[in-house]
């Protein structure tokens, strides 16, 4: 790792502070409201370190979904990171195993996004620079996720129920997805997912969601292929 690249990554990560702190606090507050204690809330933020999946697990547990379903649906939300992993592998695949393990743990949407853009711009930079940039971004972003979750969890015990926070989780999901609805395939995925999830709500163990998500994914991929063929 080079200190120059580390500093560059750190500075690039700083603007995300404005997103990470409130988002992490929201998780801490809502996890506490749902009945998780401080240790459980922190374990989730430290071990999983993926906001969308943490909110998904929280919601499905509150819905009374079985453990296996809550686990699979939350993991499904994180499957996009396999794509991140594949995208970064050519750039940092030569690093030692231990480094790659630590790097994998810290691969969140923001650190991936920054690193991918940097590696695309400078594909021939030395490995040390690429690693330095990544861990610089990690240093700016990831510790704040833990800290914000902690603050939210401490604060969460003091928030009155009149604040209608029951609806903060659905609102948060919509807020995560809405900016992503930028192409027709994305919109198709969202619509198919919504319609099927509602139509299949009668299925036990939240299985309707699994079916809806699978069909929506294929529908989006097919729409994209169709658009490309049409040119």
């Amino acid at each position: 790792m080079t200190s120059h690249a580390f500093r560059k990554g750190f500075l690039a990560g700083l603007p995300f502070v404005l997103v990470i702190i409130p988002f992490g606090m929201l998780f801490g507050v809502l996890a506490t409201e749902a009945g998780l204690n401080l240790a459980e809330t922190m374990a989730m933020s430290v071990l999983v370190i993926a906001g969308a999946a943490q909110f998904t697990a929280l919601q499905l547990m509150q819905d009374g979904a079985p453990l296996v379903v809550a686990l699979l649906a939350s993991l499904a939300v994180n499957l996009r990171m396999a794509m991140y992993s594949a995208a970064l592998a050519p750039h940092i695949g030569a690093a030692p195993l231990g480094t790659r393990m630590v790097l994998s743990y810290f691969m969140v949407d923001q650190t991936y996004g920054l690193a991918a853009a940097e590696y695309d711009a400078r594909p021939t930079a030395p490995l040390a620079d690429k690693l330095g940039y990544f861990f610089g971004a990690v240093a700016a972003i990831c510790p704040l996720w833990y800290l914000a979750s902690y603050l939210g969890a401490v604060l969460g015990t003091r928030i009155p129920p009149a604040l209608a926070l029951d609806f903060a989780v659905p609102i948060t999901f919509i807020a995560i997805i809405a900016p992503a609805l930028r192409t027709l395939p994305h919109v198709v995925a969202a619509l198919v997912s919504i319609l099927l999830a509602l139509a299949l709500a009668w299925m036990p163990y939240s299985l309707g969601l699994m079916v809806a998500a699978s069909v929506a994914m294929v529908a989006a991929a097919q729409t994209e292929i169709w658009l490309e063929k049409r040119g």
């Binding site: 547990m61 809550a70 686990l71 993991l75 594949a86 592998a89 209608a164 609806f167 994914m217």
Partner: protein, 109 residues
């Protein structure tokens, strides 16, 4: 509230952490510098937008707080979050905008 036992809750947390790590580690650690099939790449890109709307739709249409009865303030809040998020691309703008509409509508009704 969550009806899970402490053991179930910790099982979920640990397995979700482990599983998420394995997904992140997949290509970097295990598969190496091998190309991912284009169709699989396509599917993976659409996973969040295929899972999350389906998760949220029943919560909006049949909210828990009203015992499942459709509720105008919550529908309006969801719509506001969707529109704000889609136009401003701001996650936090959508969260706070949606909650502001919810509080306003609840206060008015």
């Amino acid at each position: 509230m969550i009806a899970y036992s402490t053991a179930q809750l910790w099982t979920l947390i640990v397995l979700l952490g482990l599983g998420t790590f394995l997904v992140r580690f997949s290509f970097i650690g295990l598969v190496g510098d091998r190309k991912i099939s284009p169709y699989l790449r396509r599917l993976l890109r659409f996973v969040p937008v295929a899972v999350m709307p389906g998760l949220v739709a029943p919560l909006v249409v049949w909210p828990q707080a009203t015992g499942g009865a459709p509720d105008l303030p919550r529908m309006a809040a969801a719509l506001a979050a969707l529109v704000i998020g889609a136009y401003t691309r701001s996650l936090l703008g959508a969260v706070f905008g949606g909650m502001a509409v919810l509080y306003t509508a609840l206060a008015l009704m």
